[in-house]
Each structure stands twice: as C-alpha cells, then as structure tokens.
C-alpha cells in the first residue's frame, strides 16, 4: 500500500497523513497529487478504481491530443484506449521518483501517435536498469511535482504566442516547416528551467547506474 510507505515519513517535519479512502495525502501545503497516488495504487495493487480515476482524468486530454493531429474522433478513441491499456500493463515501469504521471503518459501517447499516424516505429532509448530501491519516496515525489509545477508556471509566464507555439510543437499540430522555423527561439526561453530539472534528474539517474 502506498500509505504504508508514506505514513511514517516526515516531510519538512510534518507528518504524512493517510486518508480514509486509502489514497495518501499529506498536510495541505505538501500533498502528493491524486494522480500520483492513483498510479502508484495501480502499479502496486492493480487497483481498478484508481485506474478508472486515471481514465477519467486523462482520457479526454489524450483524445484532445490525438485529435489535434488530425485524426477523427473514432480513431482518437481507439488510440486513447490503447494508451490507457499500456498504462495498465506497463504500470510497474512507472517510477514516481523520476517522473510525473502526466510525463509518463505523454511519452506513451506520443509514441503511439507516431506509430499509428506516421506509420513509423518510433525508436526509443533503452530503459534504465531497474532501481532496486524503487519504492516511492514521498520527499522525492514532492520534489518532482514541485519541479513540474515550477515548469508549468514558467510556461504560463511566456508571451501567449510563444506559449502557443511551444504547445503546438509538443502537442503535434505544427507542420515540420513551422517547427524548423519556430521552435529554436521560443524553446530557448524555457531552457534554463529545463536545465534546472535536468540537473536534479541527472543526480537521480547517476544513482541508478
């Protein structure tokens, strides 16, 4: 159980509290997101109710993502189903100490989109060797979530047209010509933010090898 890992942990001196519904929570200021708690419950307990919650949250987002690439509603839903099935089947590969669940699902969805829409087999990097101590670490999870929320803030502070261009590049409704003409500049503006995340990740990753 997630709560079993977490309820004895202290974060910034605050005790982590277990919620009665079985998903964990901490005090209001330091709370692991529901999405993270759900995916850990899926990963460790094959929890269907938690999976259904993930579906409710991500399926409409994934469908929007797919339809931006020009596929119809029906095919988009087929891909959503495949992506969510992969989430269920590969949940043991999810490491909350390294990535947010939205990052992990984005990765699966993007690969599937390229396979289906571009009819290419997307080359993927080797998986890192399994971390033997791959247990959720509340402090580390919060650090990852904090990093992501700072990234979100950095993105929201961009000029609207810059933000839109980057969003279109990542969500896949920009033509290749538009990308080669546009991404260099706006992506540079969030580079420093990415670098910060990178530094932390690099330390994490070094310990894995």
């Amino acid at each position: 159980m997630l709560t079993a890992y977490l309820d004895t942990t202290q974060i910034d001196g605050r005790a982590v509290l277990a919620r009665p519904n079985g998903y964990s929570s901490v005090t209001q200021t330091n709370k692991i997101s529901d999405q993270t708690a759900f995916i850990i419950a899926v990963r460790d307990n094959r929890d269907r109710a938690a999976f259904a919650q993930l579906f409710d949250h991500f399926a409409p987002r994934l469908k929007g993502f797919m339809m931006r690439s020009g596929v119809g509603s029906g095919q988009a839903e087929e891909i959503v189903q495949e992506v969510m099935l992969t989430v269920w089947r590969k949940a043991e590969q999810f490491d909350p100490n390294r990535a947010q669940v939205s990052t992990w699902i984005y990765q699966i969805a993007r690969n599937r989109k390229i396979d289906v829409i571009r009819k290419e087999n997307r080359p993927v990097p080797e998986e890192l060797a399994e971390d033997p101590a791959n247990e959720p670490d509340a402090g580390q999870i919060l650090a990852v979530e904090q990093e992501a929320s700072q990234l979100r803030q950095a993105l929201s502070r961009l000029k609207p047209d810059q933000r839109e261009m980057i969003e279109r590049a990542y969500m896949g409704d920009l033509s290749h010509q538009q990308i080669s003409a546009q991404t260099g500049v706006p992506l540079g503006t969030i580079k420093s933010r990415i670098r910060l995340g990178l530094e932390r990740l690099r330390h994490e990753l070094k310990e894995l090898r």
Binding site: A52, P60, W104, R152, M171, L187, I194
Partner: protein
Amino acid sequence: MSAITHHTPDSLIAAYASGNLSQPYSVVVAAHISLCLECRASYEAHQTVGGTFLETSETELVSEGLKAGLLDLLDEPFEAQKTYQRSGAYPGPVMEALKGKPPRWKRLGMGTRQSILSSGPDGSVRLLYIPPGQAVPDHSHNGLELTLVLQGSFHDETGRFEVGDIEIADQSLEHTPIAGMGAPCICLAATDTPLRFASLIPRLLQPILRI
C-alpha cells in the same frame, strides 16, 4: 564508459521528445540517450514539458462506453512488446533497427564497410565500419549529418570523437573525419537526404575517381 564530451544539442532533443524528429535522426538520438545520462535527463525534462501541456491543453469528451470497454480489456492476456537490449557496441535502438541480428556489412573499399539500417524519403541511417587511420566515408553534402561513435574513435578539424560522442554537421562544415588508431571505428550515421550512389564511395577515392 568514457566521459562523453560531444552531446546532442538541446533543440534536437526537444524535437525528439516532442515527436517531431524524423525516423533516421531519431534512431541516432535514441542511441545517444541510451549511452548518455546527461542527454537522458534533458530528454526527460522535455517530456515533462509535454506532460504539462497534456495536463493543461484542450480536452475532448469521450464516448460513454469507452471506459467500460477498456475496463473489460484489463484482464485480457497479452504479449509484452519485444524490447531490444544493448549487444556489444550496439545500443538498444540500434539492435531494434537491426531486428536483433548482427549487421550485414557491405564493402565500400579500403576496408571500409557499411550496413544500411533504413533508407527512405525522410533520409537514411546506417552503420559504418572504418579501419584505423582510414577516412570516414562521406555521407552527403546536403542537410544535416548526425554521426554517433559506437566503437573506436574518429577525429577531424573540429575535434576528437570517442564512444558515445555525437557529431552534428551541416553542409557548411567542411571536414575530413579519420578513424583513430586502435579498434576499428564503428559509427551510426544519419542524414536527411536519401543516399546517393556517389556518396557511398570513400572520400579518399573521390579525387581518384573524379567524382
């Protein structure tokens, strides 16, 4: 692993992470990330940008039956997708492009060999085998060339490239890469132009053959 000094530029990692890099370049970038923790961290950071947009961008209502249909599938037996592991000098993405088999080398002359992994309208990606001290065959004079060292080393006017190092060359770079002494140099090379016949002939022979 020796320290990698030539990395994939952030713009290429961003393009790869957002699914906007062509297949031939993606093989090289995926192979470099497999060998390089620094670029892996950068790749994961870029995917976090993608995840952030997935969270915040526009949603589409899904059909009523979609969730129930999916929940019914959860217990279906399935075959895990095959993943390719590193084998000798070849990282997972190269093994995948080789479909798990050793490369089928074709001679290019002067002891140099190549094995084409894929070639199409998006460009090509291939393995090159260059004996110590020999010139690395020219890829093309058009577009962008990505060259990743998998074994041995090469050097040119811009520096020395060892295992894990990636060279990014555009058409403005006039260079003559030479394989280092020691183990034969094996490189993974991608271009965005289809292979032309002339480009298969090693550079040293080109003046002789007047190509």
